[in-house]
Symmetry: C2
Subunit: 147 residues, 2 copies
């Protein structure tokens, strides 16, 4: 039997969070953090709603996951996020010592890889799952904004 | 008459926040954000108390200042912080478009300059005020930890 708790499964959950952001007129980026096949944090970008540039999906998810775990470090956790993290979020992920990051779409302008911003040496990264849907959703958001 | 609202004056306020962190058994880093010679946010590192790696003084100060101003962007604001910001905080400061950053001690290991992490092109930076006191306080904190 195929494991239902695949990366695709959890990225769909992150994408659902991005859809929630879209419906709230926020730049549509969503994230979940998973520990032992259990979602322990869900978040989406809320920078407009909270009037706070730090309210990216990843930062909120890190805070919520640490709260759930009762510890600062996200060992044995995986972050699923629809867009490549920015420098701020990569810096936070560095401090969290998270095990694994799976992101959807690449962000060639503001993504952390452009700047070679380091993650924790223990952190594994993969990307590309639901990249097209995640990228299209963001493009659609900005197209509507320009109208 | 000398302007009493000097960089030294506001850095002393940030240092007082670092002292508050020290007394709470937190890595002693403090920050204030100033707009028109008025302190609109004060914060100190609370990563242990809040069990949250994102609870650096700078991030909390950015959130509090934006809340005070009712807008996300910290134009015409200066951040005073006792230690050079890390990548996470530099990334947040980038998004905030803050006018000016004054930091005390350099952080050659974890500071954003080591990684060439960009700030906003509009942001001016200076450093060195109360650098020795700020650095000594952190060293004293870790010396006590090792005891």
């Amino acid at each position: 039997m195929k494991d239902i708790y695949s990366d695709e499964y959890f990225m769909r959950m992150a994408f659902q969070e991005a859809m929630n952001a879209y419906e709230e007129d926020e730049i549509p980026v969503g994230a979940v953090i998973v520990s032992n096949n259990r979602i322990i944090a869900r978040a989406h970008n809320l920078t407009e709603t909270l009037t706070d540039v730090t309210a990216h999906a990843e930062l909120q998810a890190i805070t919520a996951a640490a709260d759930f775990l009762g510890g600062k470090y996200l060992k044995n956790c995986t972050l699923y996020v629809t867009l490549e993290p920015c420098n701020m979020c990569a810096g936070a992920l560095y401090w969290s010592q998270i095990d694994r990051i799976v992101f959807g779409a690449e962000d060639l302008h503001r993504g952390y890889r452009k700047f070679n911003t380091p993650l924790h040496p223990q952190t594994e990264v993969s990307y590309g799952i639901m990249a097209e849907e995640s990228s299209n959703l963001i493009q659609e958001f900005f197209k509507n904004k320009r109208r």
